[in-house]
């Protein structure tokens, strides 16, 4: 088990940078998820940790020891690959025994360890089979089994459940998190699925175009996104963004828009005042930070026209058109009975809305 540190790490393919100046500290025994869309550099980052890619610049350290020049076998990490990478000509037992065999363990030790891992993953009855006889979920368990038979410095999971069906994925999320807690080994988990990162990780590193956007707990990333990109990437349904103007009236600052004019809270007003000379912002509201009604409320609200309603079983998503051509989505209960084309009114929870700079997308609050 080890603490992992990234110090100014760069990865370039030719002259194209894939990872730019990455700095992350991942404490011993914690669960770090690297989250980002495809091509954001998250897999390159993981492969640099595993030793499958050279580190162009900077340092990666395990317990303060640089590992830049160590071969993969000397780093003592265990990795689960996106497409499992099982050895097709070997049985499940031999697949799981491989890392121990390569380290010259005794046959009895190997057997005990593989059996224990197989029991933990509930694949004891599959040990004699070949990978091609297994289902996707079983292959994935074998791949995890191959990683946990030894006690490595850390686990690297590269989108291990991306190819499973939705139901199994939800199940495996819980299992992997539980596994990491049980074994207590440091884990780096790469994913493009914000739900996986949110639900499993202690810390999320959100990456975009090779740059670390935000490093924080799932709550921080969800509630206090540092910029509009993170705010839009994390959360499902995604955050609504509306361009608004600013207006001061009676000592209060208002967000103004053809469809609404709403005052910000006092605290938010101070933040806006401190950010000198802005007169336009991008407002961000999550679909669950608003309520929708067909009756015009007394307080300030957003007026719009219902574009479409979607029933999701337990709740409902309402798409609402605004006059400036933008469309926002609101989450509400299934009691809502508005129909397409109807005028509706949305009340915003002002403690949960966000404002981003229009120039660089940085969050003001």
């Amino acid at each position: 088990m080890a603490k992992v540190s990234f110090r100014n790490v760069w990865k370039k393919y030719g002259t194209t940078p894939a990872v730019k100046d990455l700095n992350i500290e991942c404490p011993d025994g914690s669960f770090l998820s690297i989250l980002g869309p495809s091509g954001c550099g998250k897999s390159s980052t993981m492969r640099m940790v595993a030793g499958l890619e050279h580190i162009t610049a900077g340092q990666i350290l395990f317990d303060e020891k640089p590992i830049n020049t160590l071969a993969p076998k000397d780093r003592d990490v265990a990795m689960v690959f996106e497409n499992y990478a099982l050895y097709p000509h070997k049985s499940v037992f031999e697949n799981m025994a491989n890392p121990l065999k390569l380290r010259g363990q005794d046959a009895t030790v190997i057997k005990d360890r593989v059996m224990a891992a197989a029991k933990l993953l509930e694949i004891s009855q599959l040990l004699e089979r070949r990978p091609q006889e297994l289902s996707g979920g079983q292959k994935q368990r074998v791949a995890i089994g191959r990683a946990i038979v030894r006690e490595p410095n850390l686990f690297l999971f590269d989108e291990p459940i991306a190819h499973l069906d939705a139901k199994l994925r939800a199940h495996m999320r819980g299992e992997i998190k539980h596994l990491q807690r049980t074994l207590g080994t440091t884990m780096i988990y790469v994913t493009h699925d914000q739900l996986e990162a949110m639900s499993m990780a202690d810390t999320i590193a959100v990456m975009h175009e090779g740059e670390l956007q935000q490093l924080g707990t799932p709550r921080e990333v969800y509630n206090k996104p540092v910029n509009a990109w993170v705010a839009g990437f994390v959360g499902e349904p995604a955050m609504n963004f509306v361009d608004v103007g600013l207006q001061d009236k009676d000592g209060k600052t208002y967000f103004i828009h053809p469809n609404f004019s709403i005052a910000v809270t006092d605290q938010q007003q101070h933040i806006i005042a401190a950010a000198a000379r802005v007169n336009a912002l991008r407002m961000g509201v999550r679909p669950d930070a608003m309520s929708i009604s067909l009756v015009k409320p007394k307080h300030e609200c957003i007026t719009g026209k219902i574009f479409v309603t979607e029933l999701l079983g337990g709740d409902m998503i309402i798409d609402v058109d605004l006059d400036d051509g933008s469309r926002i989505r609101v989450k509400t209960s299934t009691d809502f009975d508005g129909v397409e084309g109807q005028t509706c009114y949305m009340t915003v929870n002002r403690d949960k809305w966000h404002a981003f700079s229009k120039e660089n997308g940085k969050a003001l609050f």
Binding site: A50, G51, L52, A71, P72, K73, V77, A78, M79, F81, E82, N83, Y84, A85, L86, Y87, P88, H89, N98, P99, L102, R103, Q132, R146, L156
Partner: protein, 292 residues
């Protein structure tokens, strides 16, 4: 494999075509099998019996072909007096040796070409294949000169080297395709598991086994059936079966019986090899190694 049932409907044309293809196959079987059959039968016949012919038009007389007293004297003559034991051994060593050398060097080279990117890689690969484009005869004279300067003419190592020269590009070409089909992630998994690069290479060899098997057969066939190299590079000290058989055609008389027997001795091992490795050969050349 991608074969599957195709829906077909009977039309007069398709019926006619079915008959035509049946006739064609029948002719083809006779065409390919009959000479081998005659060779096999004749090798057990005395010279006089081998040339017994029925009168023209006498189809009943075809039974004359089967009317003989079997004799193994040609085989006895070959192995007891004409040194065919040595020639058989030479053939085996030359074919097997070049297959082993080609497969070892070829798989290392094919692996590198498949896994590592370097400048001029496609040019190098093309150059390797292009060495097979020139006919053997074209390079025979310079090759002979080189081999003579190196004292390799008439030696088994010389013959192995000569066959390897021609088999190696072929090995690289076939095996690269097989390595290309093995996902790189499998080696990466090996390396993370604790293997060195070379151990990882060895670990994926079973996955290209069909390719290696197929290649070994083709390589042995090439060397075994070769006459040109055997006659020129191998002449003298490293005589192989085809070269020795050729010498049975002498100016004063042609030893038909012995030639037939030598033909059987040359053909049988390859037919046997073909049977043993048939499965590999078919899957190896059509299927691309492994699916994930």
């Amino acid at each position: 494999m991608a074969s599957r049932d195709v829906v077909r409907y009977e039309t007069p044309l398709s019926t006619a075509f079915k008959w035509l293809s049946a006739i064609f196959i029948a002719i083809y079987v006779v065409w390919t099998v009959l000479p081998i059959f005659i060779m096999f039968m004749s090798s057990f016949k005395d010279l006089l019996e081998a040339f017994k012919l029925p009168a023209v038009g006498d189809w009943g007389g075809i039974m004359v072909f089967f009317d003989f007293t079997p004799t193994t004297k040609h085989y006895y003559e070959l192995f007891a007096n004409l040194g065919f034991t040595t020639y058989l051994f030479n053939s085996l060593v030359a074919a097997g040796g070049s297959a082993v050398v080609s497969v070892v060097l070829g798989s290392l080279c094919a692996y590198s070409l498949s896994r590592i990117d370097f400048r001029g890689k496609s040019d190098l690969f093309f150059w390797i294949i292009s060495t097979r484009m020139a006919p053997v005869v074209a390079v025979m004279v310079p090759l002979y000169w080189i081999f003579r300067e190196l004292d390799l003419v008439g030696t088994l190592p010389g013959l192995i080297l000569a066959y390897t020269t021609f088999n190696l590009p072929f090995a690289i070409w076939i095996l690269k395709g097989f390595f290309d089909n093995v996902p790189y992630a499998i080696e990466e998994a090996q390396m993370v598991d604790g293997a060195t690069r070379f151990q990882a290479f060895r670990a994926i060899l079973p996955l290209v086994a069909p390719g290696i098997g197929a290649f070994i057969v083709l390589c042995i066939l090439f060397a075994w059936n070769d006459y040109l190299f055997a006659a020129i590079i191998g002449s003298g000290g490293a005589k192989t079966l085809p070269a020795a058989t050729r010498e049975l055609v002498q100016p004063q008389n042609i030893q038909w019986g012995q030639i037939m027997a030598a033909g059987v001795v040359t053909t049988l091992p390859m037919m046997f090899l073909g049977l043993v490795i048939r499965k590999y050969l078919v899957t190896g050349l059509t299927m691309g190694a492994v699916k994930e």
